[in-house]
Amino acid sequence: MSGGVEPADAVSAAAARAFHEERAIVLATLIRQAGDFQLAEDAVQDAFEAAVTAWRRDGVPANPGAWITTAARRRAIDRLRRDRSMADRAERLAELTRVDARHEEPSMDDGSAIVDDRLRLIFTCCHPALEMPARVALTLRALGGLTTGEIARAFLVAEPTMGKRIVRAKRKIADAHIPYRVPADKELPERLRGVLRVVYLIFNEGYAATEGDRLVRGELCDEALRLGELLRVLMPDDAEVWGLLALMLLHDARRAARVDPSGRYVALDAQDRALWDHGRIREGLASLERAVRLRRPGEYQLQAAITALQMQAPDAESTDWAQIAELYGALAALNPSPVVELNRAVAVGLASGASAGLELLEPLLGEPALERYQPLHAAHAELLSRAGDAEGAARAYRRAIALTANAVERAELERRLAALR
């Protein structure tokens, strides 16, 4: 492949492909060898910039990933030689030159070394000593290769603000010596839950929000799915890793159907099922099956199972609400929250009748966290209406209407209110 000079666009394409496929791997390994996040990131950046010029001159190398790895390591050595103020400078230089002399390249097909480094990187980016927005931003930058500008746009934050957040987090990693390692067995489950939360937050940020740059938001979903798949490859024995992947795939399969041609949100039971991505649904169901076979139930598996039941039924009427109610019960036992209780009340109302649903929902009306939660009042109205209490239902619909800022939602609630009489 090397030898002849490649046309400029082929070189750019090769560099872009290498960036996409190899950057996180190269970075993860160099952070360990250089002992510093910022230094490694700068050196990898230098290497990619140098690649385009060098590859135009000499041709694209047979193994672009190995080329970038070596170039990045040498750039890190150069930077260390120039910057006399770095802490532990001598040891880092010694380690990097030792690796450089031995040509220790982790081969791209094997590997436990690569697996370990990428896991180390994920656990460091998601360390609980960092504030949550910094965990999300670092993960997207280091593992997803998103630029600070892209992350800022996705989270509707000014770019300098996001830049400061990332710089501060990297400083803290260095100054406080946040370790670069996979946590020990006894802390692993807790820490892995933290990692999964970051990934799901990235997904939801892309999926649930209605404002912001739609293109970048779609990228967040894709990035979260890539991270979910990476975790599945790296930690295939964890049921919740599969559960989260299943949940994200099942939600993502409906992405195209969630918005109508005029850009408005469409609820699940009103969606055009022909627009669902059925390949993705199959993948999601297969992941859920893998998760369940590991026999370690968890919140993501339960949510994925609920979503799967809703999607597999041909319409709202033939949905297995009794089983959904049961799954919400299990979810509430595992992770109690007023919103889960509300969903459970709705499912019970559909499975066992309105009065059974009301019995579970009414205690939630006194819940301060739900006081201004529109879906609570809309669900209350729906149950009251089905129980024959039109007056109570009207009151609850008016309360729900007063709490909604969304025009489509308001129109739907007003239609239901008018239909009461």
Partner: protein, 137 residues
Amino acid sequence: MSQYMLLVYEEELDPAEQAEREKVTPLLLELHAGLREAGLLVGVQRLHSTGSATSVRMRDGETEIVDGPFAVTKEVLAGYYVLECADLDEALEQAARLPMVRWGTVEVRPVMPPGEWLSTARRAGVDLSDEDVRNLA
């Protein structure tokens, strides 16, 4: 290995309630012995209550001496540990073992190594020799 300061913040209580807290002393003794044996304990001190604190500052060339702590807060600095740990995870693990976390808050701060202090001052343009590091910390 790096040093971390564990700053123990807790609410100041009336004597009867405080007496209840003193009951953890045997547990602390055991913890400190364990830390010392493992070579982690660099120092530990308990402070008198903020009722005995005096704050000093100079403004416009005048030295001001003020009765009381620097800031009036519900939880106040009550003592500290300096530990030698492998990394932040180990420091956090040790902090979580202190009985004070049950009622107060333990803030974990990395100690700046003297060499880094020296190079930080040098970067700011201060002329210092390598030997000065011994007198810094």
